[in-house]
């Protein structure tokens, strides 16, 4: 008894926060840095967005504040990593914990009250679902059809060459990181505003940020790739309760989405290697 249509639409709503956060992280990684703080920025976005929604009873305000809070948190990363040459991995992890902590601090103030009205739906889709797809198209255009996008990609490819050639390494990087933070914040707000009917709760992100980072790799740092990988993982989440009914061991069902992401990562990485495709070259390097 499988209602395919409902799984497909549920998949998209589950995928939307992943896609938003992953697109943001893609920008960061395209610029040659890795911000592991996605989970934290999402958590803050979820809490701050929910609080703003409660206070103002405005959906737009909720998303704006959620996004800005994520961007604000990413500023810490900017200061630490770009400004003070701190280790990007450690800084990212600190951001995660800070974000989750701040999320509790802010979120308690909402107390789990449903604030914003139920998320308006556009037929089978909602605004953010449509926005995430439009955003992917926009980012694709930006990265591949404008010189600024080419410059951003170049920075991510080879930082030293970029510096030597006089590209705007720092400027573009800082912008990418802040935009990445904003999108993660919006993704977090989506979790509370849409998933949970306008309500924040403790531990709301539940690893979504990490999955989003995985989706960046899975989508090969490409906006459309991320659309696909995000949708794939969203689908897995939507199908999770269905899995035991089709004979997949219940103990496995909870872990299966994560496991499948891992398997997909291994397969995709293998294919990339076979094809000779490599990630933006300076990603994961610690040259500063």
């Amino acid at each position: 008894m499988v209602n395919v249509m409902s799984i497909l639409t549920n998949g998209l709503s589950n995928a939307t926060p992943l896609i938003l956060a992953a697109l943001g992280e893609m920008l960061v990684e395209r610029s040659g840095k890795v911000n592991l703080g996605v989970e934290g920025m999402m958590a803050v976005g979820a809490a701050a967005g929910s609080l703003a929604g409660v206070k103002w009873n405005s959906l737009a305000g909720s998303f704006l504040v959620g996004g800005l809070s994520g961007a604000l948190l990413s500023l810490i990363y900017v200061v630490a990593v770009i400004g003070l040459n701190a280790d990007q991995i450690v800084t990212g992890l600190i951001l995660v914990f800070m974000g989750i902590g701040l999320s509790e601090l802010i979120g308690i103030k909402t107390g789990g009250t449903p604030g914003t009205p139920l998320f308006p739906s556009l037929g089978p889709f909602d605004y953010l679902e449509v926005f995430s797809i439009v955003l992917a198209v926009f980012l694709w255009f930006l990265l591949y059809k404008t010189w600024t996008g080419v410059e951003l990609r170049a920075i991510g490819e080879d930082e030293l060459s970029a510096l030597e050639r006089g590209l705007r390494v720092k400027t573009l990087r800082v912008i990418s990181i802040i935009v990445g933070g904003f999108l993660a914040g919006v993704a977090g707000t989506y979790l509370s505003d849409s998933f949970h009917y306008g309500r924040w709760y403790s531990g709301i992100t539940g690893g979504m940020g990490w999955i989003a980072i995985g989706d960046v790799i899975l989508g090969y740092w490409h906006p459309f790739g991320i659309l696909i990988s995000g949708y794939f993982t969203g689908l897995l989440f939507a199908m999770k309760p269905l899995l035991p009914t089709i004979g997949i061991p219940a103990e496995l069902a909870d872990a299966l989405p994560y496991f499948l992401v891992l398997v997909a990562l291994i397969i995709v990485t293998f294919i990339y290697k076979r094809l000779g495709i490599s990630p933006p070259a300076s990603v994961w390097k610690t040259i500063r």
Partner: protein, 451 residues
């Protein structure tokens, strides 16, 4: 049972909160005020928040004062388990303000409970300690031996564990009767003849709730003469969420029941409003899906927020206040003794006698556990009358859902059948306290969605 899963998340949270404070100090120059606020409110559970007593005029009477300490595993703002207990604390605070001083510690990790409580007992005199999480069991047992002058109250713990501790009382609010009544409402309204249940865990507590709900819905369908007199009613139980609090997973599970199994009544055990709201969201798409209140009157809660739920049938509500009232009154009267409280319908109410249906309080607050408002627009009046009748009967234990003959099959922790249905309760027999406390089988009509 509860708290078993909360253990991990809550403890992690404390670490995270601390990390955030540190992170703030490092990262944000302007974040100092925030960090400080968090340190008093969240990061230092060792400082109990004191609630000032309302009356200060009667001090000259030099009355005996009872000092009681509540230990919470979560934040009081969780709008769930901990808040319900804190509401109970406030209830007794208002009632006994003259002689009662209450304090509470929130977000106390279970593995630190012993030292945190001991700290308090060393510095301040307390007469009573209420430990509101299953995971505090060990701490309470040790402390009870070390502080024989203090009375300890453990919520949800098995009384056998504290057999030898004279100063430990166990207490719990039991819902299975209410779930049976929910089932009647569900069976009476279902149009698809399919109802579902989303469990958090398959602990005995939840299993008896599932069985009660399932039997109730068959009863309800039969009452209305639909679904082949209840014979053709299908009851689906999803895979347990494996968390008491999992809004996201609960939402997905509820959606699956509706989308793939055509279920239109969903009962659940999960500490959020997620499933009720999911049911409500289907009404926007023109689909009638019903659900219930859990632990608090969610209908009223949403009404206050300006939303009139269409999906709300009724539900199970707990009020810890009367239980605390009873326990503290005994303590104040120097009449406390070791007991095991398992609050059911009719307990902690002024009058235990059953009332005529017209005067039934089904759907109104009374006692420690009661029925959430009944949706009279949807539930047929025949069913309403039956619910009220049984509600009143249950108050006097004249009606008991778990009365034989009941057939069922044993399940494992994920709900997989372990045997073919067997006669679990012989005709005319009622299940006893321990049978219910350790129940491990599903009512035969239940279809487990875990294969």
């Amino acid at each position: 049972m509860r708290g078993l899963s909360e253990k991990v998340s809550r403890r992690d949270f404390l670490k995270l909160a601390t990390a955030s404070v540190i992170g703030l100090a490092i990262g944000l120059g302007g974040g100092y005020a925030w960090g400080r606020e968090s340190s008093t409110k969240t990061a230092t559970p060792q400082t109990p928040s004191k609630t000032t007593t309302s009356s200060t005029t009667s001090t000259s009477l030099a009355q005996r004062k009872i000092r009681a300490l509540w230990i919470y595993v979560g934040p009081i703002g969780d709008y769930g388990w901990t808040k319900a207990h804190d509401d109970g604390r406030k209830y007794v605070q208002n009632k006994f303000g003259k002689w009662l001083v209450t304090r509470y510690l929130e977000k106390v990790p279970e593995d630190q409970a012993y030292s945190v409580i001991k700290d308090q007992l060393e510095t301040t005199r307390y007469d009573a300690v209420f430990a509101t999480s299953w995971g505090y069991m060990n701490a309470v047992k040790r402390l009870a031996e070390e502080y024989p002058q203090v009375f300890f109250y453990h919520c949800s713990g098995p009384w056998e564990y504290f057999k030898d501790e004279k100063n430990v009382t166990t207490y719990f609010a039991e819902f299975y009767q209410l779930y049976f009544l929910n089932g009647i409402a569900g069976g009476a309204v279902t149009e698809t003849c399919k109802v579902g249940y989303v469990p958090a865990f398959l602990t005995p507590e939840v299993i008896r709730h599932i069985n009660a709900f399932a039997m109730g819905s068959v009863y309800g369908a039969k009452l209305m003469g639909k679904c082949g007199n209840g014979e053709k009613l299908e009851i689906y139980v999803t895979k347990p969420l494996n968390a008491w609090f999992a809004p996201s997973a609960a939402r997905n599970a509820a959606k699956m029941l509706v989308d793939n199994y055509d279920v239109d009544v969903i009962a659940y055990t999960e500490d959020s409003t997620s499933i009720l709201e999911t049911a409500e969201s289907y009404w926007d798409e023109g689909k009638k899906v019903y659900s219930f209140s859990h632990y608090s009157n969610m209908y009223e809660y949403f009404l206050k927020k300006g939303k009139k739920l269409r999906s709300h049938l009724t539900g199970q509500v707990a009020n810890w206040g009367p239980i605390y009232e009873y326990l503290l009154a005994r303590l104040y009267a120097n009449d406390a003794f070791k007991e095991d409280i398992w609050a059911r319908l009719g307990d902690f109410t002024p009058i235990r006698w059953k009332r005529p249906i017209s005067e039934s309080k089904a759907g109104q607050p009374e006692g420690a556990v009661y029925l959430a408002p009944l949706n009279t627009k949807v539930i047929p009046s025949k069913a309403i009358i039956k619910i009220k009748e049984l509600y009143e009967d249950m108050r006097e234990l004249l009606f008991e859902p778990f009365t034989g003959p009941i057939w069922g099959y044993r399940i494992d922790s994920e709900g997989r059948p372990q045997e073919s249905p067997k006669l679990k309760v012989p005709p005319g027999v009622r299940l006893g306290r321990n049978d219910l406390w350790y129940i491990n089988w599903f009512y035969e009509k239940i279809t487990s969605l875990v294969k």
